[in-house]
């Protein structure tokens, strides 16, 4: 079955469900958080405005996006469970195509959220007058890395949401992953790599340095973490292969 047609059908099925609402609400809260954090900054601090924004959003994402993804994905999968729709769909549509369409649909929503974050950073930078040039490379890197983490989580939660009729399971998994994302900053780096939501921070183009004596924060760009990126990409590919295969073998 044509992938584009399957994706269009996913959006058609989403009528009246307003999946975008949760994404819009989370994006709005994150934008307000950023604006609030910049309100009292002086010129020297605003010079680091872009880096500050990228760092802040990456940290927020590790806590908020797993929860948002859990809500989004469970709502997308719940419509199939509620009316026992899989029994009819499996006689008309290849199950793998349905799995892919749901994943792409979630991916588009998540790309929109990360895209909105970048638009917010640029807009706030314009309004507040960030004095440094726009870090185009870091912005592209940020978009790719944050989307990669979100896709991994969406895939993991989609597998749970399609497998279990009770949507409390993927929702709880989203909440737990968000909580782990919050705690991951305190874990040693080796342990961090085992927590999917920690990759929002691990893959972020900007890291922070807290000078305890001077009580100042400085942000700096890091080299591209190629190993972490490859690790997460490999995990995504393996999870996709496993999850899709399981879904295709499923009896309804």
């Amino acid at each position: 079955m044509n992938a584009m047609k399957a994706l269009k059908l996913e959006f058609y099925k989403a009528r009246r469900k307003r999946y975008w609402l949760i994404a819009a609400a989370i994006s709005a809260v994150q934008a307000l958080w950023l604006i609030w954090g910049l309100r009292n900054m002086d010129a020297s601090q605003l010079a680091q405005g872009y880096l500050h924004s990228l760092y802040q959003f990456a940290v927020l994402n590790s806590i908020v996006l797993p929860v948002m993804t859990g809500v989004l994905v469970s709502r997308m999968c719940d419509i199939e469970h509620k009316g026992s729709a899989l029994r009819t769909l499996f006689t008309m549509q290849p199950s793998g195509s349905l799995f892919d369409a749901k994943f792409f649909c979630a991916g588009i929503h998540l790309a929109a959220v990360v895209g909105f974050q970048i638009a917010t950073i640029l807009m706030v930078g314009q309004i507040k007058g960030f004095s440094t040039p726009k870090p185009a490379g870091a912005l592209v890197w940020y978009f790719g890395s944050q989307l990669l983490c979100s896709l991994f989580l969406a895939l993991f939660l989609q597998i749970l949401a399609l497998r279990h009729i009770n949507q409390f399971i993927p929702l709880s998994a989203g909440l737990i992953t968000g909580f782990l994302g919050l705690m991951a900053m305190f874990f040693p780096e080796g342990v961090m790599r085992l927590v999917p939501s920690a990759y929002y921070g691990l893959l972020s183009p900007v890291h922070m340095d807290w000078n305890r004596a001077a009580r100042t924060v400085s942000y700096y760009q890091v080299p591209f973490p190629i190993m972490d990126c490859m690790l997460l990409t490999a995990a995504l590919v393996i999870l996709y292969w496993f999850g899709r295969k399981q879904f295709m073998k499923r009896e309804v």
């Binding site: 079955m1 047609k5 059908l9 058609y12 099925k13 009528r15 009246r16 469900k17 419509i79 509620k82 009316g83 026992s84 729709a85 899989l86 029994r87 009819t88 769909l89 499996f90 006689t91 008309m92 549509q93 290849p94 073998k249 009896e251 309804v252």
Partner: protein, 300 residues
């Protein structure tokens, strides 16, 4: 005879449990085939296997003349409509939008939606959300979805479940009309013997995963053949004279006899001085047959 569905040794195992055990189904084309059995006999699992929703452990399935495998399953099912267990629908979408999904997946022309809604008399409620439908309307929506694209075969699993008496009547009428009106072969399951008796031409009876009967409904009725029950002044003596007679609670049961043979038997007994106290015709009801075959309480 042409068959729409045939299976060879169709089996499903879940560990030690065998819900479907080496079934040889043969559903003739252009007929209503009633698939009868008590709850838990394996009807739904069998139908799900026919549609590829459950994977057989063993055996083969042929639908519309083609052996079904994972590669050709969906192309074969394009000509098959189905309703398994309960109707499938998206509650937040209208009836029309639900059918639009089916139309799009089956690449059908737009007009099919109106035709399907019309066939199940949902035309006036096409723009109402499916969640607000009664169970009967949801069931009809499920049938409308199954009818989309004029399939050659419809597989309906207990389609009258949960319907009120009027809805049941209406559904039966619709199912019965499908072969003549649209040329559709129907395989319909039920645990209600009376239901199958009213709508089916052929019947398959499944018990604990095994097909215990498969033939025309007329052949099932023929199993309810008449027997002659006698009570005589000397049942032992009468039994010695009539070797085919069997004792049953003070009666002698003779197999179905022609009028001439029945007369000869009574004359023989009279000649030997055995008086006939009672003589009556006994007929096994369809329920008795079903009960014998399924070993469970017959559902009327």
């Amino acid at each position: 005879m042409d068959y729409c569905i045939t299976t060879e040794n169709l089996t499903k195992r879940y560990g030690q449990e065998i819900p479907v055990n080496h079934i040889h189904l043969a559903v003739p084309a252009g007929a209503v085939y009633g698939f009868l059995g008590p709850n838990g006999a394996g009807k739904t699992t069998t139908m799900k296997m026919l549609l590829g929703l459950v994977h057989p452990t063993e055996g083969s399935i042929s639908v519309l003349g083609q052996n079904v495998n994972e590669k050709n399953r969906l192309s074969i099912l394009r000509k098959v409509g189905s309703l398994i267990e309960s109707p499938s629908y998206y509650g937040h979408l209208t009836a029309r939008e639900n059918l639009e999904i089916v139309r799009s997946l089956r690449n059908l022309p737009k007009g099919e939606i109106d035709e399907a809604l019309d066939a199940v008399r949902l035309t006036g409620t096409g723009n109402k959300q499916a969640a607000k439908f009664s169970l009967g309307m949801k069931q009809r929506l499920g049938i409308a979805a199954a009818l989309m694209g004029r399939p050659k075969l419809m597989i309906l699993d207990e389609p009258t479940n949960g319907l009120d008496p009027a809805g049941i009547q209406e559904m039966r009428k619709l199912i019965k009309s499908l072969p003549a009106q649209y040329g559709i072969t129907v395989m319909v399951s039920s645990h209600l013997l009376s239901e199958i008796d009213q709508i089916a031409d052929y019947v398959g009876i499944i018990r604990k995963g095994e097909l215990v009967f498969q033939d025309t409904l007329a052949a099932l009725h023929a199993k309810s053949n008449c027997r002659l029950a006698l009570r005589t002044s000397n049942n032992e003596g009468a039994a010695a004279l009539l070797p085919k007679a069997k004792h049953a609670e003070g009666w002698l049961i003779l197999p179905q006899l022609t009028d001439e043979k029945a007369a000869a038997a009574s004359l023989l007994l009279a000649q030997k001085g055995i008086g006939i106290v009672r003589m009556e015709v006994r007929e096994k009801s369809l329920e008795d047959i079903f009960l014998e075959m399924t070993g469970t309480e017959a559902a009327l």
